[in-house]
Amino acid sequence: MARLSFPPAALPASTEQLRLDVRDFLAKEIADGAFVPRCDTWLSQHDPSFSAKLGAAGFLGLPWSKEYGGHGRTALDRFVVVEELLAHGAPIAAHWVSDRQSGPSILKHGTEEAKRELIPDMVAGKIFFSIGMSEPDSGSDLASIRSTATRTDGGWLLNGTKVWTSQAHNNHFFIVLVRTTPVAEAGAKHAGMSQFVMDLQAPGVDIRPIRTLNGHHDFNEVVMTDVFVPEHYLMGTLGNGWAQVIGELAFERSGPERYLSTFPLLAALIDAVGPNPSDEAAAQIGMLVARLSALRRLCISVAVSLDTGGLPVTEAALVKDMGTRLESEIGEVARQLVPPGSNPAFDQLVGDAVLSAPGFTLRGGTNEILRGIIARELGVR
């Protein structure tokens, strides 16, 4: 019987000092009024100056090679930093994509020139990236994208439309997936795609806001009309874009941002309920804590596996499915245990959670897609 594998794993002791350093840093920032803890900050709270402070403090690009300006530490060191930033509700949307996936992607697939040009400023928290994947009609069926890149002198011309590019209006670049060979010629739906780094300030780029029901402008539509991309911004092998993207999914899906988006609300809920809850209120809070603790362990197991060369795609999908449901339910429990209207700061956190929740279980692969992946791995055919 196939079974998902979450081998017992713990973070190495070497991460402990780093954790305390980040915690101290954040305590000072909060005390200085640099930020007020919020929910879902990795998507919504874009603060370049805060990101630059993190860069200056050495908390970005941790696992990246020193050769390109990284800190040469481990992915688990980054894990710990990210956990602390999320749990404290810090404004980390500016560097989020850059630090989580663009940097690693460039280091793995980018040209030498691109690495030298981009990585140092990403480590410094000064250059920020978005993701150029979804298209208006692709939805969960990512392989159906239609944007194209065609050869031109010294590089490529990109055309098409990307949607759901978070923070494109505030960031400098995105890594974009486009067709370099038409489906008809490529033979298979997944063939003929390539990835490029693209400058979001380049001529021919039109960035239009997509406002969401929570009142945010986090997302954009990015329309590319003959946007020139220099040759050295091609990522990896021409035509190998799909495989490169899929290889990153475990990294994208398994992080602590998949269950900690509403952690600041849970902490606030505990204070709002006070030290002597009824048995039943205590049970509701305790069960949320038990779930968080269990998922955190699974998440660490995935992180350790990734760090040691494993590719726990299904396990990551499972953590994301369960984690995003949990972070949604924290909002539901909170609003029922503490009715609105008595504490504006608390109401703000509840509002963040309730109105942002629909996104939790959609972004980065809907939960229905994830469950299909899990079921296949379990061996139903």
């Binding site: 979450f6 404290h88 902490a267 030290p275 069960m287 139903v380």
Partner: protein, 336 residues
């Protein structure tokens, strides 16, 4: 940390061979005495007891692996309570034969003792300390079976309290130990229920195709697998923290999380497993119900998920919001 590989192989091999549906069925209302003897002969009933005290030695993770395997197979013997019960007998000789664990709470005149119906001795933990009683010496006021046919007894609290040797351990710790054993059993049984359901979904045909091809069934299985994995993760955390931390209050909290999560998982996993299995899984001839009945029984014993979640919730509430995250990062703590 993890259990000894050879030990895990031994117990798995042994239980795979011995624990058949027929033998589980035959043992209902009692236990499988020959299985017990076999486990005893292999030294598996005293793992976790130091060699100096006549036990087999081994770590808490070893103990956990044995009990989890027993849960996975539905082994009809009180191996869990025997192993955790022995941990209270520090300094005393550990008697042969199965132990049962009595949590002598002050608010109950009569104490229900799981597995008391087949145990040879009772480890009774009260505020007075720990007492070891031959079952034959106890006034039994009631007998019954849990949902899985595991026989309990009820005994007056005063009789259990008698002759206690003073101990650092009190009824809270015994409740925790019993819950810990249940969390181990449940983690194993949950895995089994998921496995049986995957297997059935691949075999059973309806409307001309395997039911595993229906998207709803696939999503049920994914949800079940998630709950089972998380219950296993919560147990692993409890084993790690209880092995490495000197703070027994922390032990109680990670056990609380593990038992609460396991209980929560049972609601989802059992419900969906029976929904997938349809009518056939509801019959007493199908393998599934040997696991699901145990899970329903175990989630109630030594505190339900809501009782344990409340223990955790009260601790968290008394610490305040800012203390929650630092606490979570100690469950488990980073290790060298």
């Amino acid at each position: 940390m993890r259990a000894d590989d050879l030990l895990v192989e031994t117990i798995e091999g042994l239980l795979s061979k011995e624990v058949t549906p027929e033998r589980i069925h035959a043992a209902e209302g009692g236990m499988d005495a020959s299985l017990w003897t076999l486990l005893e002969d292999n030294g598996l009933t005293s793992v976790g007891v130091p060699e100096s005290a006549g036990g087999m030695g081994g770590t808490l993770h070893d103990l956990g692996a044995i009990v989890r395997a027993a849960g996975r197979h539905g082994a009809p013997v009180p191996i869990g309570d025997t192993l955790v019960g022995a941990t209270f007998l520090t300094g005393a000789a550990i008697p042969p034969g199965p132990l049962a664990l009595a949590v002598v709470r002050n608010d109950r005149p009569v104490i229900r003792i799981p597995w008391g119906g087949v145990a040879e001795h009772i480890v009774a933990v009260s505020d007075d300390g720990v007492a070891l009683h031959p079952v034959g010496s106890m006034p039994i006021s009631a007998r019954g079976d849990n949902y899985a046919g595991e026989p309990w007894i009820e005994v007056a609290a005063d009789a259990l309290r008698a002759g206690a040797r003073s101990s650092d351990a009190g009824p809270r710790h015994a409740q925790g130990a019993g819950a810990f054993a249940r969390a181990m059993l449940m983690a194993g049984a949950l895995e089994r229920v998921v496995d049986l359901s995957v297997q059935y979904a691949n075999e059973r045909e309806q409307f001309g195709k395997q039911i595993g091809k229906f998207q709803t069934i696939q999503h049920y299985l994914a949800e079940m697998a998630g709950e089972a994995a998380a219950a296993g993760g919560a147990l692993d955390t409890a084993l790690d923290v209880a092995s490495s931390s000197a703070d027994t209050e922390q032990h109680i909290l990670v056990i609380a999380a593990a038992k609460a999560y396991a209980g929560r998982a049972v609601s989802t996993v059992n419900r969906l497993a029976h929904q997938i299995h349809g009518a056939i899984g509801f019959t007493d001839e199908h393998r599934l119900q040997y696991s699901t009945r145990r899970l329903w029984a175990w989630r109630d014993e030594f505190g339900s998920e809501s009782e344990w979640a409340a223990v955790l919730g009260r601790a968290v509430a008394s610490g305040g919001g800012d203390a929650l995250w630092p606490a979570l990062t100690r469950w488990p703590a980073a290790v060298a």
